[in-house]
């Protein structure tokens, strides 16, 4: 079998996702331009295109931002997350066209370079209401560019998931810049309360869903910590901490444990229990929400796989997780919360169904 490098692993899902995405963008632009020419026939085509691409990019960013918390609130939204990077790149391209049209319309063919004009035409950086809002849009676009350019797994491997994830958290900073870009820009001219209300509603939905997801996650975290606090103190081998009763873990599934700073996924499969670090090497996905499929821990976010006994991805993949010692006494499961180096083989604890 030959192994060849495939920059995008196309699946029927990805193709369908992209087709829907392109149709969505096309329908939006056509409807906006069509309606604008009916309701505002005096508006120039350039202004129409600038407003169509600007509003579409901002709308898409809202959809992108709510997919994450929606998936945390209800796992069944996960197929949307799986190809979200395509959505992100498409949104960047729409935003880029908005930026380029603007740069040309408002800054080109003048007495200085358009990029110089962008930062020097309005110099009132000390005033909020008169702040140069186009500069805010430029920096947001720069962040979105960095994210789009590094969205491929190639970059994630090279930068490491932690750096990559932090870089991609920049989307929230870009969103904040864009809210300011809109409020200090077009909303200073278009003052309809409906338009201002729409920006507010968008923020409310984005922030509200993130808060709801965070509350849900903190409840899960608290539950896993409480479990340990209540049961700790039972007679246990040196250094081991009580985790749960093995019957609490469904077969081929996991339980998440927070012991001190250790975030552990405890998997039950084939009458065995193994523990690995709960954070996926791909994009920090929560492995404890995954499953054992074909003998491998399978991440719920994008399907990366690891062997439960040693935390290693099956060849030819090279990702490795830290592993932990597990000890079963009767019906109780104990975990030693010191991690072994990534990819270290540990003998799974056997569970006895007749106890």
């Amino acid at each position: 079998m030959a192994l060849s490098y495939d920059p995008v692993h196309w699946t029927p899902h990805k193709r369908l996702y992209d087709r829907i995405l392109i149709a969505f963008i096309g329908v939006y632009l056509l409807c906006f331009i069509g309606l604008q020419s009916i309701f505002h026939p005096d508006c120039t085509l350039e202004t129409t295109v600038i407003r169509a691409t600007g509003t579409l990019g901002f709308f898409m960013l809202h959809l992108i931002l709510i997919i994450g918390p929606l998936c945390r609130l209800d796992r069944r939204f996960l197929p949307l997350l799986y190809n979200r990077r395509h959505f992100g790149v498409a949104m960047f391209l729409v935003a880029l066209s908005h930026g380029v049209f603007n740069l040309f319309q408002f800054h080109a063919m003048g007495n200085v370079d358009p990029m110089v004009s962008l930062f020097t035409s309005n110099t009132q950086y000390g005033s909020l209401a008169r702040f140069p809002f186009q500069a805010l849009g430029f920096f947001a676009l720069l962040i979105l560019f960095l994210m789009a350019a590094t969205s491929h797994d190639f970059w994630m491997k090279n930068l490491g998931p932690r750096v990559w994830k932090s870089l991609h958290m920049g989307v929230y900073f870009a969103y904040a810049l864009l809210v300011m870009h809109v409020m200090l820009g077009v909303i200073q001219l278009e003052k309809s309360p409906v338009l201002i209300g729409m920006v507010g509603l968008g923020m409310f939905v984005v922030i509200g869903l993130h808060v709801a997801a965070a509350i849900k996650q903190s409840k899960i975290d608290a539950a896993s910590e409480r479990n340990i606090a209540i049961e700790a103190g039972q007679a246990v081998p040196e250094g081991f901490v009580y985790a749960c009763e093995w019957a609490e873990i469904a077969n081929n599934k996991a339980k998440m444990l927070l012991i001190g700073k250790e975030n552990i996924a405890l998997f039950r499969y084939e009458d065995k229990i193994s523990a690995v670090h709960n954070v996926c090497k791909h994009q920090n996905g929560p492995l404890s929400e995954g499953r054992i499929i074909d003998g491998c821990i399978t991440c719920p976010w994008h399907g990366y796989q690891y062997l439960p006994e040693n935390g290693q991805s099956p060849p030819p993949f090279t990702e490795k997780l830290s592993t932990y010692d597990v000890f079963v006494k009767g019906t109780s499961v104990y975990v030693h919360p010191s991690p072994y180096p990534e990819g270290t083989q540990r003998i799974p604890a056997e569970i006895s169904m007749v106890s």
Partner: protein, 266 residues
């Protein structure tokens, strides 16, 4: 107990419950489109009926008047009561540039033919010059434009500064914060500033702004472009245009829709 469904992105098919949720998300997003687009389009404040006849060339013959801004004065425009009522057309350059003529090549008062593209709104006309040909050179040094009246007493006005080229029709809207940088660029390129004065009855008046002696006001007024200001100046009626010779020490930032008169002018 029924096994809970589990989704893996690289599998060909998503479990039914996951596929259903995904479809619901797409459906809600698509169904929200008409509402979102409808509101975004409908609740815009509206656009002027300014026109830029880009690509449709017009040839005009008239007298060239370079100060305080370059104008073409049409002498054959209209006849009213047997008297000529010329129309003055502001000449502007390509892109974000004013029109500049070498006084040796085109002295003030010369009869010229200008080819270019018309820009007009509410009775004010500008022309983006493509080419200009001198038909008769005028050697008179002090050419006084036709129907030019200078008001002796300064008055106070308040409104918003933009550039006449965009405002009259090249851009729509050619005013307000989104257009601010473009207006600055046009003024930096030599187009005289335009003050739009809102008179409270929904009618607007427009003034071309100059320094006290007709000198360009840019860059002193750069920081005031696109927002409300009040200022004092002397008005000169120049055919169908109004010029305002501004006392630069009187410029103040204000709410552009404020109707009170503000401090007296001296």
């Amino acid at each position: 107990m029924q096994e809970e469904e589990f989704y893996i992105g690289w599998l060909a098919k998503a479990p039914p419950s996951f596929a259903r949720r995904t479809r619901q998300f797409i459906l809600v997003s698509v169904l929200s489109l008409p509402l979102v687009i409808g509101c975004l389009v409908y609740f815009q404040q509206g656009f002027s009926n300014g026109v830029f006849e880009y690509g449709k060339q017009t040839s005009l013959i008239g007298k060239f008047s370079p100060t305080p801004a370059p104008f073409l004065i049409l002498e054959s425009a209209n006849q009213t009561n047997g008297r000529l009522t010329p129309q003055s057309i502001l000449l502007v350059g390509v892109g974000k540039h004013g029109y500049f003529a070498d006084p040796k090549e085109i002295p003030a008062g010369s009869k010229v033919r200008v080819d270019g593209f018309l820009i007009y709104r509410e009775g004010k006309v500008a022309l983006q010059v493509k080419s200009i040909a001198v038909l008769e050179k005028d050697s008179s040094v002090n050419y006084t434009p036709f129907a030019s009246v200078l008001n002796a007493a300064p008055i106070r006005l308040q409104g918003e500064i933009t550039d006449p080229k965009c405002f009259l029709g090249v851009m729509n809207p050619g005013e307000g914060k989104p257009h601010q940088d473009c207006a600055v660029r046009c003024l930096a390129g030599g187009i005289p500033p335009l003050l739009k004065v809102h008179d409270g009855d929904g009618k607007d008046a427009y003034y071309l702004l100059f320094g006290p002696n007709g000198a360009p006001l840019f860059p002193q007024i750069q920081q005031y472009v696109g927002s409300g200001i009040g200022l004092c100046g002397r008005i000169q009626t120049f055919d169908n245009w109004q010029m305002l010779y501004v006392d630069t020490t009187s410029i103040q930032r204000i709410n552009k829709y404020a109707l009170d008169a503000g401090p007296m002018c001296h």
